[in-house]
Symmetry: C2
Subunit: 147 residues, 2 copies
Amino acid sequence: MPDPTLSKTIYTTPQQAEAAFYEAIERADLEAMMAVWAEDEEIICIHPGGARLAGYTAVREGWRQIFAGGRNLRFALAGQVYSQGMLLSVHSLHENITIIGEQRKPPPVVVTNVYIRGPLGWRMLVHHASPGPAGSDTQHEKPKTVH
Amino acid sequence: MPDPTLSKTIYTTPQQAEAAFYEAIERADLEAMMAVWAEDEEIICIHPGGARLAGYTAVREGWRQIFAGGRNLRFALAGQVYSQGMLLSVHSLHENITIIGEQRKPPPVVVTNVYIRGPLGWRMLVHHASPGPAGSDTQHEKPKTVH
């Protein structure tokens, strides 16, 4: 059941918003996912190989379809590079995804996440994920903050 | 021949830097391309389907390989969504690419470009390009600025 307090969660850093984002995916929790996104903004979401989804309705529908598959994804993040301004924070990272019940290990996903600061703290503005080439190992990269 | 004044060009808006970026690709001009990128930053470049390239040397080598193919690409940009802060500016857009001498029209490329403001104006910090699905028409989208 959706938690009505979720939409009021305040993320005081973009890193908190990012943690909530990946937790929502692992739980396949659509309400928690959409609570991470900025309101009243032109939000943008690009799933690997997919079309650009723009705006709340399209972004929500994209996650609804993914979550219909159940709670079967686990994420290990690597190689984070953070560039943070006053209003916007840009995170480059790799997602190493495990599909529960499958032996196959997909190649890392290359991701750019952008967060925007508003009255309710930091929220997601852009999630751009695209498949990286097969055979790359990104598990042991260390986080780096440049701003 | 490389123009030695290029590295001192000041882009007063991220849109100017973006125009210089696409002009450098169309001209296959490696020096002009690298002059658009931020210096002393952890720059990130992801070509469609490629691995994440991080840092000046890797980013430069990526463009060198692409430009070795000659001046054969033409770009029509569409669907721009700009989110601009004081320090960072995030651009979401579609690249409709024509390969000169080929009839085939590749599907639009989905792009997130991030610019950072420094002492020498706005410079590119992140270029994340990934292939969109075939069959999508993005030629007639209008630009939109949300910040």
